[in-house]
């Protein structure tokens, strides 16, 4: 009888611990989102690599339009990955990094302008292949600059820690 009661107490304590452990995690957002932030940061970095790879393969496409579409898709995937990372930030990071994240977002808007420039250049009679090579060059270099800034800001704001 005595042993049975002890067993119940033991089970109760064990259940309480298992219930409280994840609850404690929810009370501290940094703890729960650190893994999600690292994963989201990894996705952003991978997407920059994918975009850079696309800038190397896009000029080989026979039609300038297909190369442009590939680059556009990869660039939009980068924007999505960055948007998803923003969703994983805790309130302190959002507040402390408001300027930095606005700048990173602004930089993506500016890099995206290169697609409009491509279209305008082609519309005004520039060779699509030459315009595409230019677009690839700008995207390759600019995404590298953007990633450097991204890494610096994430490190300063302790994203993923």
């Amino acid at each position: 009888m005595n042993i049975n009661i002890r067993k119940y107490w033991y089970l109760l304590a064990l259940v309480l611990c298992f219930v409280l452990l994840p609850l404690a995690g929810q009370l501290v957002p940094v703890q729960t989102s650190a893994g999600a932030q690292r994963s989201a940061m990894g996705a952003v970095r991978s997407q920059v690599t994918a975009l850079k790879n696309a800038t190397r393969t896009a000029p080989n496409f026979t039609s300038g339009g297909s190369g442009h579409d590939l680059l556009w898709q990869q660039f939009q995937s980068l924007r999505s990955a960055f948007g998803e990372l923003l969703q994983t930030l805790n309130s302190r990071q959002v507040s402390d990094g408001a300027n930095e994240f606005a700048e990173l977002n602004g930089a993506l808007d500016i890099i995206q302008e290169a697609f409009n420039n491509y279209q305008n250049d082609v519309d005004s009679g520039r060779s699509p292949n030459v315009a595409l090579r230019d677009l690839c060059h700008v995207l390759y270099q600019a995404s590298g600059v953007w990633l450097q800034e991204f890494n610096k800001d994430c490190s300063r704001l302790r994203v993923g820690f």
Binding site: L21, L27, N99, A102, E103, A107, D121, R126, V138, R158
Partner: protein, 225 residues
Amino acid sequence: MSIKKRTYIIVTPVLLLGALVLSLSCASKQQTSETIRPGSRIPEYRQVTVVAEKAVEAALESLTVVSTQVNQCPPKVLTDFAAQVRRLQVESVQMRARTEAMQARGDEYFKDWQKHLAQVEDPQMRALVERERPALQQSFERIKVLSHEGREAFQPFMASLRHVRNALEKDPASLASEPVQTSIKTAREKGAQVRGRLMRTQKELDRMSALLTPPQRSASTGREG
């Protein structure tokens, strides 16, 4: 029940509770923010303006080489010019991104900047930031205006450069044509405006750095005022 079993029954929940407490304490340590160096973003911002200004200068120099050609633009000159236009597109990204963020966030941008400065541990520095707040705000307002003016001039500058490049790629002999000459003139004017705003922004940032330099240090480095 054996002693071994009893010990196991007592120790296991204690260990689990310990793990719980440990996880909470680790998480709270992760929340502490790093020490922010006073004005740490000012030199960085200055560097970004210097990079953009150099790219504008190089593009204008390249445009001058193009415009001094007689009759038609040689392929080498055109290739160099196209490379400078690409360089400008890339090396202005950070500067333009800052301008966009500043315009989009408005006063919040400066408030956040000010907040970071006020978080420094050194009481002397905190007092300095507080004392110079009106002067810092004035400098920031001037930078905001300069950035806005620079942004307004950058769009036609870039468009004119691209127009010259595209026209010459299509027909190198079109250099003397009126549309190309008009674009060269616009690019020169707007480029000079952009460059001027960038240089004035650098001076304003230097002024902010001087305001945030403690008196004894600024006296020794001659950066006062």
